[in-house]
């Protein structure tokens, strides 16, 4: 494998073509030496006989058709793995950037990963307590789940993710090892700094592996960042038996990078210019969450994506929603009313919730209560629409009750402090307290026995 090729045939953005290559394989990693000093790496993305198309991770700056030496490495994109990666910071392709030296390990793994066999998956059942009512009560996060935060620019998704990390880390099972793998793709410097500070403040910094591809880092590099991060997460979870929370931010930049590269490859675009394989690519990332049967440890994913123009039907949130097990949607009008976290519960959902709550997990009334809150809050929306047409005074008494309920619900149940850590029982009881504002016959989603036990109508002055 020591043949070096001098020169290139063409350079087009991050893609270069090399001719006369012998023995290269699809997906192989190549090393470049530019001008005798600068090192870059790239990946073979297309190959025709002796002509290889290579994607350069660091970008093709300074490369010319003559000054580049290319060497085949004989292996696909790999990363060295070690438990020492916790507490360290890496760039988007997994090279340390914290001046603490390289990761020394003989164990190397292909970052593309392999699909987890459905018959060896363990169905996720244990909930993660986040201390945030809107999540714990209504879209419960389950260990081994992939639950994205759908957000928009300017909304506090970073604070929310940070709060989840802080509060989820203080789990009751203190003997279980908890760690965070943080992958940033195309995020701003201050966002990365914000997360770093949060990790330090909450004392988890030595349990975090950070992979940073910042907004001004090469675009191609961020295509590999989530894969590198997830390879590390899988290693820590399934081989070091830790419970790993993976934060991927911002998946929109990842998809944008894919579109950019696809377009320079001259591929046929499908929706909004994104390549046809956007779904498959996103799926290979999101599906790398879960639990393996008989193995201690889990990978839970919390991807963050900013919906372009707050549009949930845009291909990126749309395809994400089809792969992930629910979503937490942030809402601009709620944010405008200074409600934190501004979670719009109606489109939010946790698919795995139903099996991880209830008697034996949280409390017997959890599912019914959640259904009733969703249903009641949906009616609040109807009542508000009506009020905006005919005026609040003209509403029927029951609609007025709903308006009141809606206001309280948003301010007290959804809204809470960024430092506030509510227990599950507090969250559930608060739900019943708010439902007490509605007459009993309105509560049609709750089993009669549960109603008898938990429902207490609010005493009115009259």
């Amino acid at each position: 494998m020591s043949i070096e090729y001098l020169g290139l045939s063409s350079i087009n953005g991050p893609l270069i073509a090399l001719e006369g290559v012998q023995g290269a394989f699809f997906d192989e990693i190549v090393e470049f030496v530019v001008n005798g000093s600068e090192r870059k790496i790239g990946r073979i993305v297309e190959i025709y006989e002796d002509r290889a198309v290579i994607q350069v991770f660091e970008g093709s700056e300074n490369m010319s058709l003559k000054n580049t030496h290319t060497k085949l490495t004989g292996h696909p994109m790999e990363i060295a793995l070690s438990p020492d990666m916790l507490g360290r910071t890496f760039n988007g392709i997994g090279q340390p950037i914290d001046d603490l030296g390289p990761i020394v390990s003989t164990l190397k793994r292909d970052v593309n990963g392999l699909p987890l066999n459905p018959v060896r998956r363990e169905y996720p059942r244990n909930y993660i307590h986040t201390g945030i009512s809107a999540i714990d009560g209504l879209t419960t996060l389950i260990r081994g789940q992939k639950l994205p935060i759908f957000s928009g620019n300017g909304l506090p998704h970073d604070q929310l993710a940070a709060q989840i990390v802080k509060q989820a880390s203080l789990g009751e099972d203190s003997n279980e090892q908890f760690a965070v793998v943080f992958a940033a793709m195309g995020v701003k410097h201050d966002v990365a700094d914000f997360f770093r500070h949060t990790f330090e403040e909450s004392g988890v910094a030595d349990h975090v592996a950070m992979f940073l591809n910042l907004a001004n880092d090469p675009v191609v590099e961020r295509l590999i960042t989530p894969k590198v991060a997830l390879t590390v997460a899988e290693y820590l979870a399934f081989e070091q038996h830790m419970h790993i929370l993976v934060i991927l931010t911002d998946m929109t930049s990842f998809a944008e990078a894919m579109r950019e590269v696809s377009s320079s490859k001259g591929e046929i675009p499908s929706r909004k210019g994104y390549p046809g394989y956007l779904y498959s690519e996103l799926a290979t990332i999101y599906e790398r969450a879960g639990i393996v049967q008989g193995v201690e440890g889990s990978v839970t994913q919390l991807p963050i994506l900013t919906m372009p123009n707050d549009d949930i039907t845009h291909p990126i949130p749309d395809l994400t929603g089809y792969i992930t097990e629910g979503q937490v949607v942030l809402d601009r009008p709620l944010h405008g009313q200074s409600i934190y976290p501004p979670i719009n519960i109606l489109p939010s959902l946790s698919r795995l919730m139903k099996d991880g709550i209830g008697a034996g997990y949280t409390r017997e009334d959890h599912q019914d209560l959640a259904n009733q809150l969703f249903s009641a809050y949906a009616k609040v929306g109807d009542a508000r629409n009506l009020a905006s047409v005919i005026g609040e005074d003209e509403l029927s008494p029951i609609d007025k009750k709903y308006l009141e309920f809606g206001k309280e619900f948003e301010e007290r149940y959804i809204g809470q402090g960024p430092e506030e850590n509510r227990s599950m029982i507090e969250t559930l009881d608060l739900g019943w307290e708010l439902l007490g504002r509605l007459p009993r016959e309105e509560l049609d989603r709750v089993d009669t026995k549960i109603l008898d036990k938990y429902y207490k109508p609010l005493e009115t002055e009259s």
């Binding site: 459905p118 018959v119 394989y277 498959s280 929603g321 489109p347």
Partner: protein
Amino acid sequence: MLKTGTIYGINGPVIYLKGNTGFSMSEMVYVGKQQLVGEVIALDKDITTIQVYEETSGLRPGEEVVASGGAVSVTLAPGILNNIFDGIERPLERIAESGGAFITRGVSVDSLDRAKKWDAHITVSAGQYLHGGDIIAEVPETHAIVHKCMIPPDMEGTVVDTVPDGSYTIDEPLITLRLQDGTEKQLTMTQKWPIRVPRPVHHRFPASVPLITGQRIIDTMFPIAKGGTAAIPGGFGTGKTMTQHQIAKWADADIIIYIGCGERGNEMTQVLEEFGELTDPRTGNPLMARTTLIANTSNMPVAAREASIYTGLTLAEYYRDMGYDVAIMADSTSRWAEALRELSGRLEEMPAEEGFPAYLASRLSAFYERAGMMHNLNGTDGSVTIIGAVSPQGGDFSEPVTQNTKRFVRCFWGLDKSLAYSRHFPAIHWLTSYSEYLNDLSHWYQDNVSQKFVDYRNRLMALLNQESSLLEIVKLIGSDVLPDDQKLVLEIARVIRLGFLQQNAFHKDDTCVSMEKQFLMMDTILYLYKQARTLVTMGHPMSVLKAENIFDRIIAIKYDVPNDRLELFAQYHRDIDAFYQRVLEKNA
């Protein structure tokens, strides 16, 4: 001597071979040193194009591709049920045993267990003349299903010899057949069939029996016939998968083929776990005893995702040929369509709408047309029912997959986002959904449930339609100003929505409801409407009627009356009468 070719180019799951290889279209090939499975998808004098069913990273130009001599096929024999396969019929359990929790590439495992011995009862004897499709042996495959081994559809001849009843593997010969050209052929339990070719039938006949699913909005409002086709479109979170699971659990089909096509891994695990624990209410056997899962999750290779739909269909047709009613759940056909788009893009074909290839519509129609109620070659009757989930982009039903699917299915269960947001499940919207089978099935309902069934169903629909137009007015002026008879329509429609259409999959009595209970529920709701309307026409205001809790009592019937205690309905009629009297007396 098998034909071979040499890899020239690689682009994701698509590879190119140089020169005329002599391969044939749709032929299965083994690619490279790792023997990855692939299929020929285009031939040219200079270039042969192959799609590979596994990840191609690590392949090099110059590696050899070997033809298999046959089209991509499935192995058909006992052992298919109570099993989980990937998109090209490789058993995932075996893959896990050989390669661990993660699926490695180039795994070579047999589709079915070739060492296991099955008890076979031979049903033919020497001297008998057999036609294609005739049954030669019966094998109890699971507690629920007797597997009927058939001779391949394209073969006929005289039985020369048979083995005695006993235990045999799927590879041991059972009978010897002298074909018309005089050659003798030994037949085993196994046959192979190419996945893209429909298995032949004698003729198809019109649908006349409903597939009873135990789901009220389906069975009563928008029924599907055995041998019918239905689509369940809905944005994410509207409950497509949940609806499919419910049907797979409770439908009165003999066999369920559940195809998880490009969906979540955890969901397949859930089906595996749950179906293993649940019992079929009709036979008392575990649900898995009648179920086969095809799992090609979204992170498994895209080409195999495309094939998984056909693999499932072929398995279904095989059981249909034995005379069984088979139902296919395809979750989701959009992922399959996207796999077509992805491969089409790699082939640099000219895209049509939204980047989908122009042949999307013809592929979809070919898929749904393989459903039907059939008279089989061997004289039995069987059916294949296809229920396909559609995941429209952005929840927008005007996108190409939904639109084209609508052209080829006769039953449309449109899931609605706002219903799902208010946690009204199943979120099938009664105004956008339809079933063209309603007329075909009305005789069955009249003969088997009640003469009044169709009439009642239509009256419920009429009330729901009235509600929807009244709500338009309510949106503008509020409900207080409506006259009392219209308020009553709103109230009864509420009872229908909450008490009848909404169904709780997690409640033991509500998850699956018998036709009889469905009818009695309608009967009770309409009786309440009749009595209440009389009161309203007599001038009793709605506020008085509503003060009684009778409406909420009727809503709770779904929980309060178990399926096996239908005599309780009589009490509800008495309660409605009592309510009627009370209102009369109080306001006399």
